[in-house]
């Protein structure tokens, strides 16, 4: 902490002793000094080999990214020591220690509004992209909920960031989980059976000459057949199809996520679509006990509208 004298405007000249004192504080803590502080707080027997290098890199980054950040001292050293002590396999984890990321998390959780602002500025782009994905929900509300979860309360969630690994990735996971939960509870409130409505539209569009009873029968058959065809897919086919249809992922995004080749994803999706179509056709024919050619119009509809309806049906 800077002395009151520095924080307040002052009349008259600085005394040499005061200038020296201020200069010393502005120099900031060195990696060696911070290391000594941390080591003093670690439980006996914890060997933090490689810590100095990580501190050196972290302090350099902190000073360049946030020149106005609060001085680093005992409080942060304790925060850091707690997280180092919590690592089961410290020797392996040490290269992943991110002192600057941990500092940002500590700063933002300390109740300092500048820390929260710095945090949100650092990850604005990631949050913007993520919020955009949930276009049915008000963006401001999403942001506010995340802010409360991360920074407010006795144990703000941001304190659970371990300091090992990138804070950016931790935040993406945390935010995606939070937003998905909001979206799911929101959808549950508007329980209006979108899937069924969609399937009805799929099986019997307006103008269909069949009577109401026949329509309902076909609706039911299509729904059951489709459900059966989805269930008959291999788990991977189902997952990739849902990612493609519901989550609107590209082949490359699916491939990167599951560490498979793009061509593998393409093949899997093509096979899944084919199985879904043929399985649904066969199922409808079997359930209604009719000849395949009697369903020609329904099948045509199925082909052309399947893509539209899949996304809803696949949600569950």
């Amino acid at each position: 902490m800077l002395p009151l004298a520095v924080a307040l405007p002052r009349r008259g000249a600085w005394k040499p002793r005061e200038v020296a004192w201020i200069a010393w504080h502005h120099r900031g803590v060195t990696a060696g000094e911070l290391g000594a502080l941390v080591l003093a707080k670690l439980p006996a027997g914890v060997r933090a080999a490689g810590l100095d290098d990580r501190l050196e890199a972290g302090l350099t980054a902190i000073r360049s990214k946030w020149p106005d950040a609060p001085a680093i001292g005992d409080a942060f050293a304790l925060y850091l020591a707690d997280r180092i002590a919590a690592q089961a396999d410290l020797a392996n984890a040490m290269p992943r220690l991110r002192v600057d990321d941990l500092f940002l998390a500590w700063w933002a959780s300390s109740g300092d509004a500048r820390g929260v602002a710095a945090f949100e500025a650092a990850f604005a782009e990631d949050l913007r992209k993520l919020v955009t994905r949930f276009h049915r929900l008000p963006a401001d509300e999403l942001r506010q909920r995340l802010r409360i979860k991360l920074f407010v309360g006795d144990a703000p969630h941001v304190q659970s960031y371990s300091g090992f690994g990138f804070l950016q990735n931790w935040l993406k996971v945390t935010a995606a989980r939070a937003f998905v939960d909001v979206a799911r509870s929101d959808a549950a409130k508007r329980e209006d059976d979108l899937d069924d409505r969609d399937l009805i539209g799929l099986a019997a569009p307006a103008g269909d000459p069949r009577d109401a009873h026949g329509r309902a029968e076909i609706n039911d058959a299509v729904k059951r057949a489709f459900g059966g065809a989805v269930a008959a897919l291999a788990p991977r086919e189902r997952t990739f199809l849902r990612h493609a249809m519901v989550d609107q992922l590209t082949l490359d995004q699916i491939a990167a996520t599951y560490q498979v080749h793009r061509a593998t994803v393409a093949r899997t999706l093509a096979a899944a679509r084919e199985k879904l179509l043929s399985g649904t056709r066969a199922g409808v024919v079997a359930i209604l006990g009719i000849a395949p050619d009697e369903l020609a119009s329904a099948i045509q509809m199925l082909d052309s509208r399947l893509e539209l309806s899949l996304s809803r049906v696949l949600r569950e």
Binding site: N92, L130, R133, A176, D247, T257, Q259
Partner: protein, 514 residues
């Protein structure tokens, strides 16, 4: 349903660093858990490939490629402030240990024609190798647009790099165009050392273990490697020559392809004799080492203009050839203007005959000659001679010789023995050829046809131990040829003769009477 993945697992997923077992388990979970699937979906959707991830001190930037054994990333080394390539090996502990060992050995190797290994280590249970990042192209792409001279020089550079690795006792085992890189600076580097590891990895020396899996890319493997026998530095020599021949000809020639056969496949002047030697089926018949091959590739005198001519030249007079159905196409005088078939058509027929040779198939050989005949007058002498080769292939040596000599006479060309490479029928005194023939063919009709010639050549008095050994091998191979056809009496007759020539029993396969 399994429990939802924890934050660490999802972070690892975002960083593309989840190990295969955890990934499989996550995939299983996601099928039944819409909440996790949606979360992963959103995370993947906002992933534009810039999720920061480090391996050791290296920050991974972009996935460059993936193979069966692992993935390759473009990465940044913040310490030395330079880009690097990071290879991460999937699972398999034994192979990881071997990769570490090879990586450490390669790290000591600094050669301009080998991709430099900067670092090797283990990180989060994954073995990684950090290497120089080559801005450029893999050879198979680079060579597509290059002339023969540039290609030969590039492969010679690759040979220098391999020679340096061999000097450390490291055999590449998987030399192929996609493992050779040409930088924007034009410098050629050999990469991917030891990344190809069988599940029962090769022994620490150059040889495979007795039960060793065959490692390498089958298309470019040396015969001994393909058959699971000792893989040595000379196996790399074969693979490199095969890749080079393919680059020049457009097709992979068979082992023991002759000089004439190679030259026939391409219009370009190239050090064919060096390549043919590297392609010898017998490792001992190849160059002593990779440096010798590189020297031969670089130092080979260019054929003077006019001697070897493009297939589309004004007039072609052909002198046979014969290697396994190939020809040398040599210029003959200044010539008259004639309609000349396209190089493409001639090349097609040539390739057909190479295929016939690989298959030891005289019928296919005759079919290829028919193709040549169809190309018109200008190619007729070639066709006539090639028909002679086919006759030889069918075991009719005398007919074949007569046809070839007639064709040469008809063209007014000298019956210059130096041009006659009669691979299919022995020539007096040419022990090497007789030996090669007997090695290369397991067609019993053919063996019977050449047996008298081979035995005659092999039993000539000689004071050379080497000649004696080759003669014994040639006769022994006749025995093998018969043995494969279950003609054990014929096999034993030849093995007995081989033992007499050598003065000791010759190793042979067992013969089962039909």
């Amino acid at each position: 349903m399994t429990a939802c993945p924890d934050d660490d697992a999802l972070i690892a997923l975002v960083e593309h660093a989840l190990d295969p077992a955890a990934l499989a388990s996550l995939e299983g979970h996601v099928d039944g858990c819409a909440r996790c699937r949606a979360t992963i979906g959103h995370l993947a959707a906002i992933d534009d490939g810039d999720a920061p991830r480090t391996v050791g001190r290296y920050r991974l930037e972009r996935l460059l490629g993936e193979g069966g054994m692992g993935v390759v990333w473009r990465a940044w080394d913040p310490m030395l402030e330079r880009p690097v390539a990071i290879k991460l090996l999937r699972g398999e502990h034994g192979s990881g240990a071997r990769l570490l060992r090879e990586g450490r050995a390669l790290a000591k190797l600094a050669h301009p024609n080998v991709i430099a290994v900067h670092d090797v280590g283990e990180y989060d249970g994954e073995v990684f190798v950090a290497t120089e990042l080559v801005e450029g192209e893999p050879m198979h792409k680079w060579q597509a647009e290059r002339d023969a001279g540039s290609i030969v020089r590039a492969y010679a550079q690759a040979a220098r790099g391999l020679a340096a690795a061999h000097a450390l006792g490291l055999v590449h085992r998987d030399v192929k165009p996609s493992n050779i890189f040409v930088g924007k600076d034009g410098r050629v580097r050999v990469g991917d050392f030891g990344l190809v590891v069988g599940d029962s990895s090769a022994a620490t020396d150059d040889t495979m273990t007795a039960s060793g899996a065959v490692v390498g890319t089958p298309a470019y493997m040396a015969p001994e490697q393909r058959e699971g026998r000792a893989t040595t530095a000379r196996s790399d020599q074969f693979s490199l020559c095969l890749a080079l021949a393919e680059a020049l000809i457009g097709a992979r020639p068979p082992a023991d392809a002759s000089v004439a056969m190679l030259a026939a496949g391409s219009a370009a002047a190239a050090p064919w004799s060096a390549i043919a030697r590297g392609l010898a089926r017998d490792p001992n018949a190849r160059f002593a080492d990779m440096t010798a091959l590189a020297d031969a590739l670089e130092g080979a005198p260019r054929a003077p203009r006019g001697r070897v001519l493009a297939i589309g030249g004004a007039l072609v007079a052909l002198v046979v050839a014969g290697a396994i159905g190939g020809w040398a196409i040599l210029s003959h005088g200044t010539g008259r203007a004639q309609t000349v078939p396209s190089a493409h058509d001639v090349g097609t027929a040539v390739r057909a005959s190479i295929a016939a040779a690989e298959a030891h198939d005289p019928d296919a050989c005759f079919a290829a000659v028919d193709q040549l005949d169809a190309l018109g007058e200008s190619i007729a002498p070639t066709a006539a001679m090639q028909r002679g080769v086919c006759e030889m292939m069918a075991g009719r040596c005398d007919d074949g010789r007569a046809r070839i000599e007639d064709a040469l006479d008809a063209m007014g060309a000298a019956r210059d023995a130096s041009f006659q490479v009669k691979m299919w029928c022995p020539i007096d005194g040419d022990l090497d050829r007789a030996w090669t023939q007997a090695v290369a063919h397991e067609n019993v009709a053919y063996c019977a046809a050449i047996e008298a010639d081979v035995r005659r050549v092999a039993t000539r008095p000689t004071t050379s131990n080497l000649d004696r050994e080759r003669a014994a091998q040639a006769v022994g191979n006749l025995g093998r040829c018969y043995a494969l056809a279950h003609r054990c009496d014929d096999a034993n007759r030849n093995w007995t003769l081989a033992a007499q020539i050598r003065g000791a029993e010759i190793g042979h396969i067992s013969c089962a009477p039909r």
